[in-house]
């Protein structure tokens, strides 16, 4: 397999690091040297040639080739088994409705949240349990980092270049979570979004930083979900009034209360859609009176419809915690879910009736 990228020679591992840092090719952390063998191994894993077009970024028209994704994935620490998730996440990010250019260039400073579903989680050791939104495991750490390194090196999404974030947030180093799918009766995020449970899948969302909540003084869904809704109302007041894909991270302790009360993701979404909304006049309470004008009585829901809520099961087994992950800018960007290595909505093959067996 012939690779097309320019090859640099470095005398030792320290020289490799300086080469990549000095060219602005890193996120500030050390990288794994992207050797030809390591990059070929990633490409072989997904059965792609180096020049395979993964997609074209729709705003700037930049072609994204498999070889360059693989180089950046290796740099992030990915093993070949992690690479299918990176490729699929990038395919999802290049969908027009994701608005990757706006989301990665904006002063709003969001990151790309990657959610992994299906059997591949266990194959690669993506755990979705303790510390799910932090450094939970190798797989989610390196996959999330690969997304960022690809943005930096393929799209010039460097701070001060295309990336105009005022603040950004720590998820811009790595923002990837695997769902906890231990409960077969709890619909996974990919299932909620129309894929079969046995398909591995990736969901990407242009996402703000997680806002953690805690309520372990009740077992009633209406009460602890009100805490989530209150956090969303706070986001509507303090950050952005635009409705869109919010994500709720619900760890096991709260999910057990929900299951006992026979609440599933749809019930959660319906409740949250009803409760997570504010009047525009509330902006005056938080110093934003200048933009209330004569529309104080207008009601602003966090989502346009209940199905904009992404209900994600993840987190350690104990603790009445949860998290709200707000959208970058309402539904200017839509979350995208794609299956990994499968086409679940392709046309069926032409009839073979009458053909030679």
């Amino acid at each position: 397999m012939q690779l097309a990228s320019h090859i640099y020679e470095a005398t030792d591992i320290a020289a490799v690091q300086e080469l990549y840092h000095s060219n602005g090719w890193t996120d500030g952390l050390p990288i794994v040297p992207p050797t030809e063998d390591a990059v070929r191994a990633c490409l072989e894993r997904v059965m792609m040639t180096p020049d395979q077009l993964i997609g074209i970024e729709p705003v700037r028209g930049l072609p994204i080739l498999a070889e360059k994704l693989a180089i950046n994935a290796v740099m992030a620490g990915c093993l070949p088994m992690h690479f299918p998730v990176v490729v699929t996440a990038w395919m999802a990010m290049m969908r027009e409705e994701f608005l990757m250019h706006g989301a990665t260039a904006s002063t709003g400073g969001c990151a790309v949240l990657v959610v992994i579903n299906g059997p591949i989680r266990e194959e690669i050791g993506a755990l979705g349990s303790f510390n799910a939104l932090g450094n939970s495991d190798r797989a989610t750490a390196v996959i999330g980092r690969a997304i960022r390194l690809c943005l930096i090196n393929l799209m010039d999404v460097r701070p001060g270049a295309i990336d105009r974030s005022t603040l950004g947030h720590p998820g811009k180093f790595s923002y990837c979570v695997a769902e906890d799918e231990d409960d077969p009766a709890w619909p996974t995020l990919a299932e909620q979004r129309g894929l079969p449970r046995d398909a591995s899948a990736v969901t990407v969302m242009a996402a703000g930083a997680p806002r953690q909540i805690m309520n372990e003084w009740t077992t009633r869904p209406e009460e602890f979900l009100e805490t989530f809704a209150a956090e969303m109302r706070a986001n509507l007041r303090h950050y952005s009034i635009h409705p869109g894909n919010y994500a709720l991270i619900i760890p096991r302790q709260l999910r057990e209360h929900l299951r006992a009360a026979k609440w599933g993701p749809r019930d959660i979404a319906a409740f949250i859609h009803e409760r997570a909304r504010i009047h525009r006049r509330e902006w005056a309470d938080v110093g934003k009176g200048a933009v209330v004008r004569d529309r104080g009585d207008s009601v602003y829901p966090a989502m346009r419809s209940a199905d904009q809520l992404l209900v994600i099961a993840a987190g350690g087994p104990a603790g009445g915690f949860g998290a709200v992950i707000p959208p970058w800018l309402g539904d200017k960007s839509h979350a995208v879910t794609l299956p990994i290595g499968a086409c679940v909505d392709c046309e069926p093959p032409p009839s073979v009736k009458g053909s030679v067996p």
């Binding site: 690779l3 097309a4 990228s5 320019h6 090859i7 640099y8 020679e9 470095a10 005398t11 030792d12 591992i13 020289a15 490799v16 080469l19 990549y20 090719w25 040297p33 992207p34 050797t35 030809e36 990059v39 705003v59 700037r60 028209g61 930049l62 072609p63 080739l65 360059k68 180089i71 950046n72 740099m75 608005l99 706006g102 989301a103 260039a105 904006s106 002063t107 390194l149 090196n153 393929l154 933009v291 800018l329 200017k332 960007s333």
Partner: protein, 93 residues
């Protein structure tokens, strides 16, 4: 030990268009302003229109506002550009 490592960036620079010919003067011209529609852009472009008309003698100022301030201008606005002598696309935040 020598490490042979690969360039992670696109080595082929994407083709970009050439800038349009520069105007000798703005006097008597039609200038289009493409606003991103953010709150702060309203006052900014109103002032710019005033400056263009009073200080530079611009004959017509056409203001168009994008429906999504984080996305490119839609085809309808882009189609109008050819009827303008110059266009200013700016961020007001």
């Amino acid at each position: 030990m020598i490490f042979r490592v690969l360039d992670p960036t696109p080595e082929k620079v994407a083709a970009i268009g050439n800038p349009a010919p520069r105007l000798d003067t703005l006097r008597g011209k039609t200038v289009g302003l493409i606003s991103n529609g953010k709150e702060g852009s309203k006052g900014f472009f109103a002032h710019m229109e005033d400056v263009l008309r009073t200080q530079y003698g611009v004959a017509n100022v056409v203001l168009r506002t994008k429906p999504n301030y984080s996305a490119p201008a839609p085809a309808g606005i882009l189609g109008e550009i050819k009827s303008w002598d110059a266009v200013i696309s700016g961020i007001g935040d």
